[in-house]
């Protein structure tokens, strides 16, 4: 019986997996906390690949001195890091500190996980490059050009669930 129905179980698991992807996405709507982040201008040539826009945020880089942990770990690249954000006077979320171990956060702070890598920043002092996983925004084909003009300076609203999942809610030029 099980052998005969094996393919049905396999197919069902695949359906459940697809539903899980969608479900986890919608659940962020209910449990998530919305934060506003500023994008920074990037080279327009790097901005658009086919049908998505590459977004670069002012929280995408942080000075090395804001890192709490062994900075040598970052030399190898792609080290997991915990980023604590808190709102500034204008209401934009900016980096408070970057940790190598999971820290405790206060009520108005938000915790994000990112891949951290040491890079040479502007003015040649050491910086950390942070990749969060919401650097891409998929757009409908052939509509990227307009966004390309605007993406230089936009507000992005991101919803972050308590368990760390996140999604882009809105792009505001």
């Amino acid at each position: 019986m099980i052998k005969k129905r094996g393919w049905m179980i396999a197919a069902l698991l695949q359906v459940l997996f697809l539903l899980f992807i969608v479900g986890s996405y919608y659940s962020i709507d209910y449990f998530g906390k919305e934060i506003k982040i500023k994008t920074v201008p990037v080279d327009p040539r790097d901005l658009l690949y086919g049908d998505y826009v590459t977004l670069h945020y002012d929280i995408s880089t942080a000075p090395l001195k804001s890192y709490e942990g062994d900075a040598a770990e970052l030399e190898r690249g792609n080290h997991k890091a915990y980023v604590v954000l808190q709102p500034n006077k204008e209401g934009y979320y900016v980096i408070n500190k970057v940790y190598s171990e999971k820290p405790k956060v206060t009520e108005n702070q938000v915790l994000l996980t990112a891949k951290a890598e040491k890079v040479w920043g502007e003015g040649s002092f050491n910086q950390i490059q942070l990749t969060y996983g919401f650097e891409r925004y998929y757009v409908q084909e052939n509509t990227g050009k307009e966004l390309e003009q605007q993406a230089r300076d936009m507000d992005v609203i991101i919803s972050v669930a308590p368990w760390g999942a996140h999604k882009i809610v809105e792009l505001n030029p």
Binding site: G6, W7, A10, A11, Q14, V15, F17, L18, L19, I21, V22, Y25, D51, Y52, R76, G77, N78, K115, T131, G133, F134, E135, R136, Y137, Y138, Q140, E141, K167, I168
Partner: protein, 412 residues
């Protein structure tokens, strides 16, 4: 059975007075080439179903914007399930290739669904997890039906996923690597086949190379990988792994000799960075010991020259001029491929001779390129090089034919 081949072979028998013309006709007629016909008609439904599948998916993808997210999800699930369902139906009624290709489409739809949903919901992948999940149904069907199409799909997903992970995220996916070794390797282990064991060996080498490059490890550690592959070829009990491990290990060692020769005899030789000898040498020594012990056990002591290619001559650059070390590599390659060739002649093994010929021609080509490029006019250079290779190849092939004149007792 190939009818044309049979007829051609039969003409020789007639010439040798073994059979008559009429008897040959009778023999050929006994074997209808129905198999070929079935092959052609079996391929058609596969092609048709693949075309239909691509058509459906590209239709959805191009009208993506007009469909609401939930409708997209339902559409994808309906397509996936109907592929699996009809695949199962056809398998049950004995249409194996059609059923398999429909199931294959189901698996492809599953992966396409993950990608399309990811785009809909702006999910950004941070690693190669997608390919891990995508491989799972392929593994299920592979071990259930043991059809080679699933095997190649799985190989594509695990090795391709790894390359994607390196390219997109600059990180090596250990999960994909383990999945590859267990599922692809396990399948070859349980159901041996020469072609599949080659696919496994090549895939394994790609995984190893990717691991070394992405972790910024000295490339010469891949040389060790090749040696380890060669050594495991000697030790492994399963016959199906022996030849690919041995051949690919040798090729990697040979490739390094090739590259080092080129590197060391040219100006950019200063780029050569050596791996830490306190780590590298002990590993090398262990592998050498293991190989020699095994060769002794099998009374192949005389064949220890095979290990020549794995000696770490590159450490000589510390004590002598790199040009000399480069020349040593050229000599080693000549000696090695010459031995390989002569061993093939001695064993009267067609595949060994062919392997030897390829290696030998490669060395000649490389030596010629490197030495003659700078001082010969380019047109003469190519002309002369081509003629040289042509003559050399003709000579070696003739020698092979002489050796294998009577069909020869070959061991391939």
């Amino acid at each position: 059975m190939n009818k044309q081949w049979m007829r051609k072979e039969g003409q020789k028998w007639i010439a040798d007075n073994i059979i008559t013309e009429d008897q040959l006709d009778l023999i050929v007629a006994r074997y209808p080439d129905s198999e070929d016909k079935r092959k052609v008609t079996g391929v058609l439904p596969i092609l048709a179903s693949i075309l239909i599948g691509i058509g459906i998916l590209s239709f959805i993808a191009s009208n993506w914007g007009e469909i609401s997210p939930i409708a997209r999800l339902s559409l994808l699930i309906v397509f996936m399930l109907s592929f699996y369902f009809s695949g199962e139906r056809y398998l049950k009624t004995g249409h194996h290739s059609l059923g398999t290709s429909l199931n294959l489409l189901g698996i492809i739809t599953f992966g396409a669904s993950i990608i399309l949903l990811g785009q809909t919901f702006h999910l950004n992948a941070v690693d190669a997890r997608l390919f891990v999940f995508w491989s799972l149904p392929a593994i299920f069907y592979l071990f259930r039906d043991r059809h080679k199409l699933y095997f190649f799909l799985l190989g594509l997903l695990t090795v391709g996923g790894q390359l994607y992970s390196i390219n997109e995220f600059q990180s090596f996916s250990y999960l994909l690597c383990i999945l590859f070794i267990i599922a692809v390797g396990g399948f070859v282990f349980l159901y041996p086949s020469t072609l599949k064991s080659w696919v496994f060996t090549i895939g394994l080498s790609i995984q190893g190379l990717m691991f070394i490059t992405v972790n910024d490890i000295n490339l010469l550690w891949f040389f060790i990988f090749g040696f380890a592959l060669f050594t495991s070829g000697l030790w492994v009990e399963k016959n199906v792994f022996k030849q690919p491990f041995n051949r690919l290990g040798t090729l990697i060692g040979f490739g390094f000799a090739y590259g080092l020769y080129f590197l060391l005899t040219n100006e950019f030789s200063s780029d050569l960075e050596l791996p830490n000898p306190y780590l590298f040498i002990p590993v090398l020594v262990v592998l050498f010991a293991l190989s020699v012990i095994r060769k002794r056990q099998e009374n192949l002591y005389l064949h220890a020259w095979e290990l020549l290619i794995f000696l770490p001559f590159f450490y000589l650059v510390k004590v002598t001029d790199s040009l000399i070390v480069g020349i040593i590599y050229l000599v080693i390659m000549f000696v090695f491929s010459g031995y390989k060739l002569s061993e093939g002649y001695r064993n009267e093994s067609r595949s060994q001779i062919n392997f030897g010929i390829v290696l030998f021609l490669l060395v000649c080509l490389m030596g010629y390129f490197n030495l003659a490029w700078s001082f010969m006019p380019k047109s003469i250079f190519f002309l002369f090089g081509g003629v040289l290779l042509f003559i050399l190849n003709a000579f070696l092939q003739r020698k092979k034919k002489q050796i294998l004149r009577n069909g020869g007792p070959h061991h391939d």
